[in-house]
């Protein structure tokens, strides 16, 4: 009896099979994400608690008669110091969460002991990272939306600009934030315990990117360094879009570097992945933990 073989071997992936694999990973990650609903509590609590330390300190610095606040308004041009701080701290949390979630996605798989077996399947391996990114972006959008709602209702933070412009700035920042996450995730396969690297990156964002202050207050050399960090433009752009009613033209000085950094970080992320993946296979590090 003759058996008809498919014209194309299952072992040779094509675009459609890669797409199916990506869809399967996306579905699996979403299922895992929904299976542990305790993240819902964190989703509501952290957007409030983390900025609160800076907001309450800002309140104390304002003074009972608001004399400090007047100085702050003159220095920053911002009339709403709570909104000003919330945008900075939200960007910091975004970068921080991406580093932990996307950055440690392959490592978690390694710890579960499933990375090596998945690696043997004839799929585009980068789709493992992309698949982790999908649910992460959705949960991050929810996180940012809840932050906006909580501070809008509880603290009366009002937008003086277009939501679409804010979303545009955030969209421009997605490639750079996740590109860094991809590069980091790739490094972690080989380095394994890389918590110190997360502390370093989030520390740099915290010190240099102006999460609670305008970077014009930094010394010259720190300002020059801040210009090499994408969150600096993201924070500046989001504040301009949210509180100064900035349009696309006014936002171009932030959007252009964000897109350029995005391209650079995606390329770095992809090639770091290829390099580290090959290195890990050669050294047998894929299955180690």
């Amino acid at each position: 009896m003759e058996t008809s073989l498919p014209s194309r071997s299952l072992g040779q992936p094509g675009f459609l099979s890669d797409l199916r694999a990506f869809g399967a990973i996306l579905k699996r990650e979403w299922r895992i994400f929904m299976r542990y609903p305790s993240w819902m509590i964190a989703l509501f609590i952290w957007p409030l608690i983390f900025p609160m330390m800076y907001i309450l300190t800002g309140r104390a610095l304002s003074g009972p008669d608001g004399s400090g606040l007047k100085v702050f308004t003159q220095t920053t041009g911002a009339t709403d110091f709570i909104g000003y701080i919330v945008i900075g701290t939200t960007v910091w949390m975004w970068q921080n969460i991406v580093l932990w979630d996307v950055g440690f996605s392959l490592r978690n798989e390694q710890m579960r002991g499933t990375l090596e077996s998945n690696w043997l399947s004839p799929t585009w391996r980068f789709s493992y990272l992309l698949g982790h990114t999908g649910p992460q972006i959705i949960s991050m959008l929810m996180f940012i939306g809840i932050t906006a709602l909580e501070f809008g209702f509880l603290f009366g933070v009002k937008l003086n600009g277009s939501v679409w412009m804010i979303l545009l700035v955030m969209l421009a920042a997605v490639p750079s934030i996740y590109g860094l996450g991809f590069a980091f995730a790739s490094l972690v396969i080989t380095v394994k315990e890389a918590n110190a690297f997360v502390f370093l990156i989030r520390g740099l964002v915290m010190i240099f990117c102006g999460i609670t202050f305008p970077i014009s207050l930094l010394p010259g050399w720190m300002q020059s360094f801040a210009m090499w960090l994408p969150p600096t433009y993201l924070i500046h752009g989001m504040r301009a879009a949210a509180f100064s009613n900035a349009g696309v033209t006014e936002l171009l000085p932030d959007l252009t570097p964000l897109v350029l950094f995005g391209v650079v970080w995606l390329v770095i992320g992809y090639f770091t992945f290829l390099l580290m993946e090959r290195r890990a296979r050669q050294t047998g590090a894929i299955g180690q933990y």
């Binding site: 300190t57 610095l61 003074g63 400090g68 100085v71 702050f72 502390f199 102006g210 609670t212 207050l217």
Partner: protein, 264 residues
């Protein structure tokens, strides 16, 4: 024995020490620059109206050092229990004829020493970077911190009991740590809190600890006369030690009855 083991483990990972020194500095750097945005000629006038000092960085640095100790004592015992649970040695440790509270205290002794060392380094580095100018009575401030820390052991015992019961208490730890430190004025004078939060803040013994230590060392305005705050801290110390031990032993008996001590 327990303290010596923890000392060895801590120094086996020297990056931890470096991280303990620099992490607090990283966290307060945004406050340093934010304070500049609220200041004229280096003086935070608004802040001075609440606290009695325009030197907000000394105020915050002192709060950060005290917070390091609070974290060590308050959460250290609970975390140590969790580590033992995960390592699977809790049940066997429990079988030894040693007081349970002594095991808990032993787990914090090394941490207290390492926290002192890393906090001094942190203070020295932050002093150079941001300026730290204590002008008051260091000895009185140190003596005031002692009943506060001892009282915290009471909190720590109670919290360790909760960890025994809940087993996975990371979110609880993170959230309550942020709330307790925030509401007791680790980074700002509690008078600046919204009026509805002030009563909660005044109910926390730590509020008086932060306030009194700063009052002695930085000559800031205090909520109550300094002697009254010290007396309150001593009372809280006895109450908290008794209450914490009581909660811990009750929970521990319940956990032993349920047979969940070895689970994690």
């Amino acid at each position: 024995m327990i303290a010596r083991k923890d000392w060895k483990v801590f120094w086996r990972y020297p990056l931890n020490a470096v991280s303990n020194i620099f992490q607090p500095i990283i966290w307060i750097t945004p406050i340093y620059f934010m304070g500049k945005a609220f200041s004229t000629n280096g003086q935070a006038i608004g802040f001075a109206q609440y606290s009695g000092t325009g030197d907000y960085m000394s105020f915050i640095l002192l709060g950060t050092v005290l917070s390091n100790f609070i974290l060590t004592v308050f959460w250290g015992m609970g975390f140590a229990l969790k580590e033992d649970m995960d390592a699977g040695v809790l049940e066997s440790n429990w079988l030894t004829p040693v007081s349970r509270l002594l095991i808990l205290v032993g787990r914090t002794l090394t941490s207290l020493l390492t926290t002192t060392i890393t906090s001094l380094f942190m203070l020295a580095i932050a002093g150079v970077l941001f300026g730290f100018r204590p002008t008051g009575n260091t000895l009185a401030a140190f003596l005031t911190a002692i009943p506060m820390l001892l009282g915290l052991y009471g909190f720590g015992f109670a919290f360790a009991g909760i960890v025994l019961l809940m087993r996975e208490a990371n979110t609880l730890v993170d959230v309550s740590s942020f709330l307790v430190q925030g509401l007791s004025g680790a980074n700002f004078p509690v008078k600046s809190l919204p009026y509805w939060l002030i009563p909660i803040s005044l109910m926390l013994p730590l509020t008086y600890g932060f306030d009194a230590v700063r009052g002695w060392l930085l000559k800031t305005n205090t909520l109550l006369p300094l002697q009254t705050e010290v007396a309150l801290l001593i009372v809280f110390m006895f109450v908290m030690l008794w209450f914490g031990a009581w909660v811990f032993y009750r929970v521990e008996r319940k956990v032993r009855t349920l047979g969940t001590l070895g689970q994690h």
